[in-house]
């Protein structure tokens, strides 16, 4: 069981030898975290400007970078659809941008299979900046008229939030793969 082996890298003997992670938790946690993160910006404060990072997108990108196989390529459709319900953007912008980000991350994964923290961060910076600017453009096409300088603080906040989101996703990944079911 390779999943179990990941938890004994420090050389300590495993105490629970006949345990396995729950398949349900392992499958559901990534989806649930992205959905909850899509809800989060609305709940945190009644903002008078675009100040909070798009947490749903950040968590999605972080999962895709940590575990490229955890979401299928079509995951942008349901996750983006849910994000659209609460984001206030024109309906469909989340579906389009999440899907494009998935395809872009897949191409990057094929080109750079070995990444370090810096490359992952740079890729995420690029994607998040494009996501926010494209969201602004789509909202402006649908009737708003916000100049691009109003999203610069949001891009900056998102860029510095991404490593924290990455840590959070790594924590969720450890939790979802915790072996606690007894193997018969």
């Amino acid at each position: 069981m390779s999943l179990l082996r990941a938890f004994s890298r420090d050389g300590a003997p495993r105490r629970q030898i006949n345990r396995a992670p729950s398949a349900l938790a392992a499958g559901a946690v990534p989806w649930l975290t992205v959905l909850l993160a899509s809800l989060l910006p609305g709940m945190l404060l009644i903002a008078s400007g675009p100040v909070l990072p798009p947490f749903g997108f950040l968590v999605f990108v972080a999962w895709r970078q940590l575990r490229p196989g955890v979401f299928p390529l079509w995951a942008g459709l349901p996750l983006g659809l849910f994000d659209d319900l609460f984001s206030g953007q024109p309906f469909g912008s989340g579906v389009l941008l999440f899907s494009l980000a998935t395809i872009a991350l897949d191409l990057i994964e094929a080109r750079l299979p070995w990444r370090n923290f810096l490359i992952e961060w740079l890729v995420a910076i690029l994607l998040v900046a494009l996501y926010i600017c494209a969201g602004l453009g789509l909202a402006n096409l649908a009737g708003a008229a916000t100049p691009i300088r109003f999203v610069l603080p949001q891009i900056l906040i998102s860029v510095f939030t991404y490593p924290l989101v990455g840590r959070f996703v790594a924590l969720c990944d450890r939790i979802r793969l915790t072996p606690f079911l007894v193997v018969q």
Partner: protein, 294 residues
Amino acid sequence: MAPPANRRSGYSRRAQYTNFFAYAAGVAGALLGVALLVVSFARPEIFTGLRTVAADLTAPVSQATATGREASKSFLSTITGFLEAGSQHAKLTRELDEAKVRLVEAEAIETENRRLKALLGLATQGPRPVAVTRLTSSTAASTRRFATLAAGQDKGIVKGMPVRSSMGLVGRVLDVGATTSRVLLITDTESLVPVRRGKDGVPAFAQGSGDGTIRIKLINLGLNPLRTGDVFVTSGSGGLYKPGTPVAIVTGLTRDGALARVLSNPSDTDYVIVDSLFAPEPPPPGEQTMPEQP
């Protein structure tokens, strides 16, 4: 590293098809996004049903977080209040003395107002508010400024009703769900409120600029009569907003108007008041023709 030229996953047909259909589904998702966008540009009202249902379903969570938000805010203000108690007390005493004088003046003005209104035969009693409720969530990660109210059809809220706080105008109701409704805040770039200067009634439009400020656009072009510190209130022209609700205070001048700060910052408002629809009374049909002079 360049990707391998042959990206075939192996000899298994099943694996190849799975791979292919995953890519096809990914591209189809993006195309569906484009289609949804086109529909939402052309007919944005199609998706309001979905949005209101989603807001209704998440209403309990939003309520809980709104309570938590208020608790943390009051906790912080208690601490800062404790630190600033001395200087603030002195300042408040000074202001109270001034305010007492102003109060007497205001009473005199109110008496005069009542007398004049009685002369004109105007009703002084405004209509009762439809609901007093909370803003539970907002679109903090988007450039659009929408917020969700914790009241909907159950409290008798109708599309178009103005929303204000005790400080000033907040926005107006855009969609109504069963227990929640969506509010377009006045700081959104699509929100346009007819306003006038509080002291002399210079007419203007207040348009949101998307970052919490408001642009005041004068209707009469020419010499810009605005000064920093001018307060704008709703003028009530065109209906929708009843006249006299404070909107914004001027913070800087531009060529054709001014930049202004919203008086009721939605992040500071705990409770908001939903007013009934305001429509100026149309003149009775008999008065269209001038009465003939004897």
